[in-house]
């Protein structure tokens, strides 16, 4: 028997969902509000919620003190570059594992995932030394490389699950219809895989954009992306909440906007395989 869903249930569920959403969103809201306060108001107790002296001076200060565009460009190059390279490696890898698996395919997939179980700090010293010796410290190339490798297992896994969902029969039908491998890729597989490719790309972009451990440890100024830019505001000079908030707001704005416009793809990407 189907469970009864009454109007009251719907109301309770809706209110609950909004409440949970608000709680999760609250820190971000608070950060955005704080960025428009003066330093004094920013850490006043009790805090003022909406009725304070709104100011944009923090944004001006932040831009004067550090070059936002320089860091944003670095973020874009590092996140975009690592994502594109990861996709270039992951597509053929996931493709072959999904469509011509061997006895060891499952083991390889698990092994790749197992690399994500190790805390990155465990290999910080060796990686740092390798980077130092190879002259990769504080270079965009170095960051692209490490983020690409770091996210590669997830990208391969996501694509693998997507490709797995494409019925083998369809590929065989294309073969019977006389499509060569190249044409099969262009006319049949790629169009069918586009939603999967898009959400993998988006998710990986966000992961790379927000990655802080490696970017903070391996870059200082030249290659420093927005994560380093934010961190520079919680410094020995003391905590400047309003400025820190302004920097953070600026740092997350681009990815927030991208995320907002691609919600549908993202949700599909995150819940893929969970619901059939």
């Amino acid at each position: 028997m189907a469970r009864k869903v009454t109007g009251r249930h719907v109301v309770i569920a809706t209110v609950g969902a909004w409440l949970a959403g608000f709680v999760i969103f609250f820190p971000i809201l608070w950060m955005v509000l704080a960025s428009f306060k003066t330093e004094l108001e920013a850490f006043a107790t009790p805090p003022s919620f909406l009725f304070f002296h709104w100011t944009t001076e923090n944004y001006v200060t932040v831009q004067e003190r550090s070059d936002y565009l320089h860091h944003a460009l670095n973020s874009l190059i590092v996140a975009g570059g690592s994502t594109l390279i990861a996709l270039l490696i992951a597509i053929p890898a996931a493709w072959s594992m999904a469509f011509s698996p061997t006895r060891r395919t499952k083991d390889i997939l698990l092994w790749m995932l197992s690399t994500k179980m190790m805390p990155p700090v465990g290999v910080l010293v060796p990686i740092y030394l390798i980077y130092k010796n190879m002259g990769l410290l504080d270079t965009r190339t170095g960051l692209v490389f490490i983020l690409c490798l770091g996210n590669l297992p997830i990208v391969i896994w996501m694509l693998f699950t997507y490709f797995k969902e494409i019925p083998k029969d369809i590929l065989e039908a294309a073969r019977m219809d006389g499509a060569t491998i190249g044409r099969e890729l262009i006319y049949v597989l790629t169009p069918m895989a586009i939603p999967g490719l898009a959400s993998t790309l988006l998710l990986n972009l966000i992961l790379a954009w927000n990655e802080a451990f490696w970017t903070l440890n391996l870059s200082t100024l030249e290659a420093a992306p927005l994560t380093t830019f934010i961190a520079s505001y919680s410094s020995p000079e003391g905590l400047f909440w309003a400025r820190l908030s302004a920097a953070s707001t600026l740092a997350i704005a681009p990815i927030l906007i991208i995320g907002w416009f691609s919600q549908k793809q993202l949700v599909r990407g995150l819940t893929f395989g969970a619901v059939k």
């Binding site: 029969d169 369809i170 294309a174 073969r175 019977m176 219809d177 006389g178 499509a179 044409r183």
Partner: protein, 335 residues
């Protein structure tokens, strides 16, 4: 032309032998059905002919040419899959045209052929729809359209009707048979449903555990089954198989009687005595499951309505010239 000949075709996946040497000659224009229980190798055999799997041994000849090293598309066959396998991102038109497009036909010719195929299958109003906007039967028709438009030497059908509901299945069964007769193209059709096999086929190939048990017309298989397996597989309800003294008396290890060849004798007399366990009243027929002691449970099919119910004592009389005899190896003994 589309004559397909298999010569000692074998297929193994590692140490597992799926097809243990199949010899078969399918004449041009015939409708041949591969039938057998699941896992018997019928789909594998079809895929070997299609070229989607490579043979481990033997030869496959299409019109006399060995095609074992020829890729699927070059064999001139087209296939209808169990899952339809339509291209979800293409319209019906795109789906049907795909093979012609791959063959590099001029656009005008493609259009004309697609329209013609669509007209044959009553798909003209749906040409610009996507597969997801179609019903199961329509999708099936698109899959068939994709197959016929290429004017192949033979059609390969892999359980194409198994995803349809019972009523639609009967209708599509008729349509496929009629279409095949109309086009006169050789067809190989895989199914596990022996009713489908009996109704559609010119000739049936009964497969079991990777071997061809018998190859013949539906009536041949029904009247002269080569062995116990074919006897039990063809016919619905299944043939009653009796071992022991009753069989020995007739000079066989096992004897078989089809449910429709047993008569109920109302007034007692000569025959097998038993008690009705279950009576299924279908209106047109009555199926009786009768406990006949040492003979086991026998199925009896009576035409029309029989007023019998569980617990009634009955006497069964098999038609004497319709009793099949099998030796110790399960092979038929014909006199």
């Amino acid at each position: 032309m589309g004559r397909i000949t298999l010569e000692a075709v074998q297929k193994s996946f590692g140490p597992v032998h799926i097809i243990k040497g199949a010899d078969l000659d399918i004449p041009d224009g015939a409708f041949v059905v591969f039938v057998g229980p699941s896992g018997c190798g019928k789909t594998t055999l079809l895929r070997l002919i299609a070229g989607l799997e490579d043979v481990s041994g033997g030869r496959i000849l299409i019109d006399g040419n060995n095609v074992v090293d020829v890729p699927p598309a070059k064999r001139g066959l087209s296939m209808v899959f169990q899952s339809y396998a339509l291209y979800p991102h293409m319209s019906v038109r795109g789906n049907i045209a795909f093979g012609l497009k791959m063959a590099g036909l001029p656009k005008a010719e493609i259009n004309q052929k697609v329209e013609a195929a669509a007209a044959t299958l009553n798909l003209t109003p749906y040409l610009d729809r996507k597969p997801r906007e179609l019903s199961g039967g329509q999708r099936q028709r698109v899959a068939i359209g994709r197959a016929i438009v290429r004017e192949p030497k033979a059609f390969l059908f892999d359980e194409p009707l198994s995803n349809l509901d019972a009523a639609l299945r009967v209708q599509m069964r008729l349509e496929v048979t009629r279409l095949q007769k109309q086009l006169g193209t050789t067809a190989i059709y895989v199914t596990h449903d022996q009713v489908e096999a009996m109704t559609m086929a010119d000739k049936i190939v009964v497969l079991n555990a990777g071997r061809i048990e018998q190859y013949g017309s539906p009536i041949e298989l029904y009247q002269r089954p080569a062995n116990l397996f074919v006897a039990g597989f063809i016919g619905s309800p299944k043939m009653n198989l009796i071992v022991g003294e009753e069989a020995a008396q007739r000079g066989a290890t096992t004897i078989g009687v089809r449910p429709e060849h047993i008569a109920i004798v109302e007034d007692g007399g000569e025959g097998w005595r038993g008690k009705v366990l279950v009576a299924e009243h279908l209106g047109s027929d009555t199926f009786l499951y009768v406990d006949s002691g040492a003979l086991g449970t026998l199925t009896v099919r009576c035409v029309g309505e029989k007023r019998l119910s569980a617990g009634d004592a009955v006497t069964l009389r098999p038609e004497p010239n319709r009793i099949y005899r099998f030796d110790a190896n399960g092979n038929s003994i014909f006199t």
